[in-house]
Structure formats: structure tokens, C-alpha cells
């Protein structure tokens, strides 16, 4: 199962992911069409700026394996696919109680102002690669199996260690 994995050190704060997300969740699915739509399409990914470090971090729904939002949803509006574990939201059943927002560790529940219900990442069911990942120009957002992602992190880290060993040996 692929997940949206974040490499925050690569984020430049351009917010291309946010725009691509809103466009993908518009009726027209085109930038120029989306900006004219009423109600305006909502993004479900958020670039958060951390002033202490002057760093931007793209925040996405993790579709937690044991998702608190699903567990607390009183109407079953939030549900989780048993196989692919994607958490989806059924606007018809949502009563806008915001319990899900209270328990989400990442603040990934947004608000549809017009309908006064929750709005969240559906991981772009019509796309092979989620729109936010495809739009990221620096690779801060990737779409990979956790194993594959972790392996690449290990390889990267191992390379750094190996360089240290080699430098020590040559001294």
C-alpha cells in the first residue's frame, strides 16, 4: 500500500500542493475553471509554516491504520476501507459535530463553510498519484510504500555513515 510520505526538508512553501488539491476537488478539475466555481473548491492538504525554524511543512492526512476520526464519528460519515485503509468521508451522513476534528492529531479535518460539514483528504480516488504529490516541484511529497520509503531513508543515512567510516580509514 502506498502512502503519502513527507520529506519536510525539501518543502519551499510554494503551496502548489494546496492548489492542486483544491483543483482536483473541483467540478471542472481545471485551475482556470476551479477559481470561478461557487462554492469554491476546498483543499485538504495544508502547508504549515513554523516560524521558530522558518520552515514550511506540508501536512497531509495520514489515513491512520487505527484512525481516531473513524472511531469517534457518531454517524458513520467517516469510514475506512478494509483493504486499502483509506479514510473517506460521506457528506450525506456528516452532521458537522466536529468530534473527528477534536481527535485528529494532525488537524486534517477542514470545514466546508457552505454545507457546514467536514472535508478531508480522500487520496484522490480517480488518480494514480494524489494531486498534491504530482504537483510538488521539489519532491517534498512522495507517494511510496512505507517499506520503500524507509529503505530509501536507510540507504541515505547508511551512505552518510559509510562516508564517515571511509574518511576515518583514510586518516
Amino acid at each position: 500500500m502506498k502512502e503519502i510520505m513527507i520529506r519536510p526538508e525539501r518543502c519551499l512553501g510554494c503551496r502548489s500542493c494546496e492548489i492542486a488539491c483544491a483543483v482536483e476537488h473541483s467540478d471542472s478539475k481545471s485551475l482556470f475553471g476551479a477559481v470561478a466555481e461557487k462554492p469554491v473548491p476546498r483543499k485538504r492538504v495544508y502547508v504549515e509554516f513554523v516560524p521558530e525554524y522558518a520552515i514550511s511543512v506540508p501536512m497531509v492526512c495520514h489515513h491512520c491504520e487505527d484512525a481516531p476520526c473513524v472511531a469517534v464519528c457518531p454517524t458513520g460519515a467517516l469510514s475506512q476501507d478494509e483493504v486499502i485503509r483509506v479514510v473517506t468521508h460521506n457528506p450525506e451522513a456528516c452532521i458537522g459535530c466536529w468530534t473527528c476534528a477534536s481527535v485528529c492529531n494532525y488537524g486534517m479535518i477542514g470545514r466546508n463553510r457552505e454545507e457546514r460539514i467536514a472535508v478531508k483528504c480522500d487520496r484522490c480516488p480517480d488518480l494514480d498519484v494524489p494531486a498534491c504529490v504530482a504537483a510538488c516541484p521539489t519532491g517534498a511529497l512522495t507517494y511510496k510504500e512505507v517499506e520503500e520509503f524507509s529503505e530509501s531513508k536507510r540507504v541515505e543515512s547508511a551512505l552518510k555513515m559509510a562516508r564517515g567510516v571511509a574518511a576515518g580509514a583514510s586518516r
Binding site: 503551496r15 502548489s16 494546496e18 473548491p41
Partner: protein, 625 residues
């Protein structure tokens, strides 16, 4: 790579060279365009402001994030300011080109630039008359010097009017005066654009856009028009002539020199230098059969119009010319020259020669020209190209066979001349309905549009519906390559237009020149309107830029609507982030200047919009739609 080249262009020569690029592992603008995807949404909508260092600021187009920049500028303000800066850059490019042409003209008149002379004395005298300069008992040089000085003063004028704006119909001039957009001087309006868009100056979108129109008029009826007319005096006013176009014009057994960019000042000399017997014999010594000059972009159009020098291609074909492996020198001046050419030329034997004092690129051989020794530099360049023939690798030569004949050279003077010195025959044809109206189709190439697809389909639809097309720039070259500039192309026109073209022996698409020569279209439109005693906005005419990409095109679009001609854009300008600016440009401005913009990427739908507009104007004039 292995891209579907057919999706990238409809031009067979381009497709062939893209396959070759793919095979050779060479990157082109289309590959770089793909690597840029997806392009920044803020940029596409025009809602990013970098005008001060409190920013960069961006407006959230979906209303969740910031709705103002640090200074408080809204999306409407930011979009309008950005658009004004685009217009300023475009007007500056045309008008600075004009300044150089006038400076060369002045040096010629002073006897300091001996390579140049007055080639069209009749036009010189006509311009002198416009400025009340006496020609009696004076040499052409004396007249030229006085004319050069008054033309130069147009740039620095502070209170107007720019003299050539008085060529517009009186009703049009009144529209400009009433709207407060009659330009005061060429340079002044451009400078004021930069002032107004500085932090904390002009922050009313409509006020900003009106100045954009004023600046653009100083381009169309100022800088561009001055460039066209001075170049006509210096190099000759174009008259109908036959030539060829597309990459197939490159010669397998001759030294190929491509002149690329926008100015005829040096390229006209290169054309002459390449005909020098000394140079030709040098080429023969190198084993070549001769020297062949071909044009690219609007430098190409300048020498095509005046000398019938074949046009190798339009904007997106510049890299492909090098990839033929048969180009000894790619000689460039200013505007629309891709910096990618340097790296590309280093993969071949091609020498990438930059010549303008104001434009250099990575990987060039620098051969800067100055008017005083223009012919000397031109010969030097030709000699360098000839010497480079020895380095051509015949195994890498791959010239596509595609080329088409074309009839070019339709200056306003030539068109009126062909009609017997008066626009009456054209007006009669319009009144009878044989010619429904006139469509001006101009502009660039843009990899956002399948190369030449927008141009050719729009033009074909128009002529099929009896709309006479006038063209310049990269659209003109697209039409030339596709055979639409041949008199026989009349067969593709509707029966009314076909009959008119066949009677006159002209193509249904008239090549009027380079992009500064859109001023010729304005002059023609003014002649038609004046003859009828109406405003340009009353004419059954419409404009289009199906594949536009440059800032110059933004200035052109603005002065075309400011002149009263409805204009359809084929690529979306970066304004949709502002509802107000979008509404003003597509609706509101019509109440002020009698013309608006429309955006329509589909060339067939764009043609319908233009035809509907032309029919509406016909009805307005009491003609059958």
C-alpha cells in the same frame, strides 16, 4: 524521452526534427515545458506579487488563506499590476527596437553609417510631409536627418501627442481623449508603468488597466509604427514577392546562415554580404556550392518581406534548425531567442553568433555590430559561417524535405496599390458580402498549444467563411509553411473570398510582416475606417493570437483592442485570479473603447467568435450578415 512528436506539432518538418532530437537524446523546448509541469497555480492566475521585499505575497485563489498581500493589495490589484508590467515590457521591446532603427537612420543621414541609404524615397517624403518637413531643394539625407530628429523626439515627448496616433480615425482619437488614454510619449508611458506598479502607487485596478491601454497605444501607434516606417525607408517598403518557407529551405550543399530575432538592421546587411562575389568564391573554395541565408522568427519576416529570403521556421523551430546539423551560423539579434541555443549549438558545429549590444547568451561567439561598420561586421559574420562549413559533419546532416512556396510582402502600401490606390474595391467586396470581413491573426508559438495547430485551424476556418486574413509574426510563418500564402490557397477559401483573390491573383491570407508590422494592420484598418467615415470599432474585423506567449503579445493585444478591434486569445493570460480584471478585459472595457478580449483555446470556437463578431459589425453598418 520517446515522446509522441505528433502531439507536439502538426508541422511535418517539426515532427521529423523532433524525432531526430529524440534519437540524438537532445532536449527541446517541448521537453523543458514537460519538466515544468505542473506549472505554478499562483503564477498562472497572476496572484503572486514580487514587487517589494516584504513579499513575495500570494493570494489564496480559493479563499481560505490570505486575501491580501502585506501592503493590503488584493488579488484584483496584484493581477492588474502584473498585467501592466507585462504591457510595459512588451511596449519597451517594440519601442526600443524602434529607437535603434531611428538611430541607425539618423547615422545614415549624417553620413556616419555608410552601409545604409534611403531605399524608399517616396516613403521618406510621405513621412516628411506628415511632420511638415520641407523636401523642396533638399537631399534625401537632409530630409532624413530632420525626420530622424523629430522621430527621436517622439520617445522623449512629455505632453503628446505621438504624431502617428493622428493616423487613427478622428472618432478613435476622440475615444482615446475621452478615456484619458491618448499617449503622451513613448518612453514616458513605459516608465510610468514601472512607477505605478512600485509598492504603494497605483492601486485601483481599472485605473491601472487604463494606463495599460495608453502604454499599448504608444507601442502600436508609436514605437512599432515608427519601427515599421523607418525600416521601410532604410530597407525598402515590401512589395509582393514569392519565396519559400520551412526547414526544407536549408541547403545540403551550401553554407547555411540563419538570421534570427527581430531586427533588420544587421540582417539586411548579412543578406547583402552573402551575395558578395568575394564571399561566394570563398564558400566555393570551402567546397560549398554557395551561401544560403534563411530567416527565423521576425528577423526572418523582415528579410522575407523585403528580399524574399526564405523563412526556415517560426519560434518553436529555432532549436530544430540547429538539429538539422546543416547550419553553419545562427546569427541572432534581440527578442524570442532561446538561451538554450548555446548549449545546443555546442552539440553541433553551429556557431551561435550574438550581435546586439544589448543581448548576449551563454555559448555565443560575440560579434557585436554598430551602425558605422554594419557591412564590415556582416561580412565578418558571413566569413565566419563560411569558414565553419569545413566543420560540418555530413553524417549528422538531416534536413527535412518539407517546405512550401509563399507569396509575401503585403505592406499596407502594397495592398492599397494592388487595389488601385484606394481601399474602395475592398470595401465594395465587403459591402457585397463576397468578403465577409477582415481577420488579423498574429502571435507566437507556445508549447501549451500543439505547434501551428491553433494558427492554421483558425486561419483556415476564417478564410472558409470568406474572412480575408491579414497576418504577421509566427502566425504568418505557420501559414507560409502550410501553403496558405500561395495564391492557389484561394481554393481553400469560401466562394466569395476565392473569387476576389483569384481576380487579384493574391492569396486569401496576406503576410504583412513582423510583429512590429502589426502597425501596418492598424494603418490598413484606419484607411478602411476613414474611407467609410467610421471608427475602427465599426469595421467588420476581429483579431486573434492563437498561440501567444510573449509580453510583446500582451502589449499588442492591448493596443489592438484599444484601437477598437475585438481580440480572441488562444492561451489564457495570467489574470483569472482576479474577477474584476477578468470582467473589465472581457466586458467592461468595451464600454470605454468599443472592443474587448475573449479567451478561447479551441481554434474552431475562436473562429466562430470572430465570425459572429464580424457579422454583428456588418449588421451595425447596415450590411447583410
Amino acid at each position: 524521452m520517446a515522446k509522441n512528436v505528433n502531439e507536439r506539432s502538426i508541422d511535418p518538418a517539426t515532427r521529423a526534427m523532433l524525432l531526430e532530437a529524440d534519437r540524438a537524446g537532445i532536449e527541446t523546448a517541448w521537453d523543458r515545458f514537460e519538466k515544468q509541469q505542473p506549472q505554478c497555480g499562483f503564477g498562472q492566475l497572476g496572484i503572486c506579487c514580487r514587487n517589494c521585499n516584504m513579499g513575495p505575497c500570494r493570494i489564496d485563489p480559493f479563499g481560505e488563506g490570505p486575501d491580501k498581500g502585506v501592503c493590503g493589495a488584493t488579488a484584483d490589484i496584484i493581477v492588474a499590476r502584473n498585467l501592466l508590467r507585462m504591457i510595459a515590457a512588451g511596449a519597451a521591446a517594440h519601442s526600443d527596437h524602434a529607437r535603434d532603427a531611428v538611430l541607425a537612420f539618423k547615422q545614415m543621414a549624417e553620413g556616419k553609417a555608410k552601409s545604409y541609404q534611403v531605399k524608399d524615397e517616396a516613403k521618406l517624403n510621405a513621412l516628411a510631409a506628415e511632420y511638415n518637413i520641407s523636401t523642396e531643394d533638399r537631399s534625401p539625407e537632409e530630409v532624413a536627418l530632420e525626420l530622424a530628429n523629430v522621430l527621436l523626439s517622439e520617445f522623449g515627448k512629455q505632453t503628446g501627442p505621438i504624431t502617428f496616433t493622428r493616423r487613427a480615425p478622428p472618432k478613435r482619437q476622440k475615444v482615446w481623449e475621452d478615456a484619458g488614454i491618448d499617449p503622451r510619449g513613448v518612453d514616458r508611458e513605459i516608465v510610468e508603468c514601472m512607477h505605478r506598479t512600485h509598492i504603494g502607487v497605483d492601486n485601483d485596478p481599472v485605473h491601472i488597466l487604463l494606463h495599460g491601454l495608453r502604454t499599448s497605444i504608444s507601442d502600436g501607434w508609436g514605437g512599432s509604427m515608427i519601427a515599421t516606417d523607418v525600416q521601410d525607408v532604410l530597407f525598402g517598403t515590401p512589395t509582393p514577392t514569392m519565396s519559400e518557407s520551412n526547414l526544407g529551405v536549408l541547403k545540403i550543399d551550401e553554407v547555411n546562415i540563419i538570421v534570427h530575432g527581430h531586427e533588420p538592421i544587421l540582417s539586411d546587411m548579412i543578406v547583402a554580404a552573402a551575395e558578395d562575389p568575394e564571399m561566394i568564391s570563398l564558400a566555393k573554395k570551402m567546397g560549398a556550392k554557395g551561401i544560403s541565408v534563411a530567416g527565423m522568427c521576425c528577423t526572418g519576416n523582415e528579410v522575407l518581406m523585403r528580399h524574399g529570403v526564405p523563412a526556415a521556421g517560426n519560434f518553436l523551430q529555432q532549436e530544430l534548425a540547429v538539429i538539422t546539423g546543416a547550419v553553419e551560423a545562427m546569427v541572432v539579434d534581440v527578442q524570442c531567442v532561446m538561451p538554450a541555443l548555446g548549449n545546443l549549438a555546442s552539440c553541433y558545429h553551429t556557431k551561435f553568433i550574438s550581435t546586439s549590444p544589448k543581448a548576449d547568451f551563454p555559448g555565443t561567439v560575440r560579434m557585436e555590430y554598430h551602425e558605422e561598420k554594419a557591412m564590415e561586421t556582416a561580412k565578418e559574420i558571413v566569413k565566419t559561417a563560411v569558414g565553419n562549413y569545413a566543420n560540418r559533419d555530413p553524417g549528422r546532416v538531416n534536413i527535412p524535405k518539407d517546405k512550401s512556396a509563399c507569396m509575401v510582402g503585403f505592406s499596407a502600401e502594397a495592398i492599397l496599390g494592388a487595389l488601385g490606390g484606394t481601399p474602395q474595391p475592398l470595401i465594395d467586396a465587403i459591402v457585397s458580402g463576397a468578403v465577409r470581413g477582415v481577420g488579423a491573426v498574429v502571435g507566437c508559438n507556445n508549447p501549451k498549444v500543439q505547434h501551428d495547430y491553433g494558427h492554421l485551424n483558425l486561419v483556415r476556418e476564417l478564410i472558409k467563411n470568406d474572412v480575408l486574413v491579414v497576418t504577421t509574426g509566427c502566425n504568418a510563418i505557420a501559414c507560409a509553411k502550410a501553403g496558405l500564402l500561395k495564391p492557389e490557397a484561394a481554393k481553400e477559401a469560401g466562394s466569395g473570398l476565392r473569387a476576389v483573390c483569384e481576380a487579384l491573383g493574391i492569396p486569401p491570407v496576406l503576410h504583412m510582416g513582423s510583429c512590429v508590422d502589426i502597425s501596418r494592420i492598424l494603418v490598413l484598418a484606419a484607411a478602411l475606417a476613414n474611407h467609410l467615415g467610421v471608427d475602427i470599432s465599426d469595421l467588420p474585423a476581429a483579431g486573434a493570437a492563437p498561440e501567444w506567449m510573449s509580453e510583446k503579445a500582451v502589449s499588442i493585444g492591448a493596443y489592438v483592442i484599444a484601437s477598437g478591434v475585438y481580440t480572441v486569445l488562444g492561451t489564457v493570460p495570467p489574470v483569472l485570479g482576479s474577477t474584476e480584471v477578468t470582467n473589465v478585459l472581457t466586458k467592461g472595457v468595451g464600454g470605454v473603447i468599443g472592443a474587448t478580449f475573449a479567451v478561447e483555446p479551441d481554434p474552431f470556437k475562436a473562429a466562430s467568435l470572430m465570425i459572429d463578431h464580424i457579422n454583428e459589425k456588418r449588421t451595425g453598418l447596415g450590411l447583410k450578415a
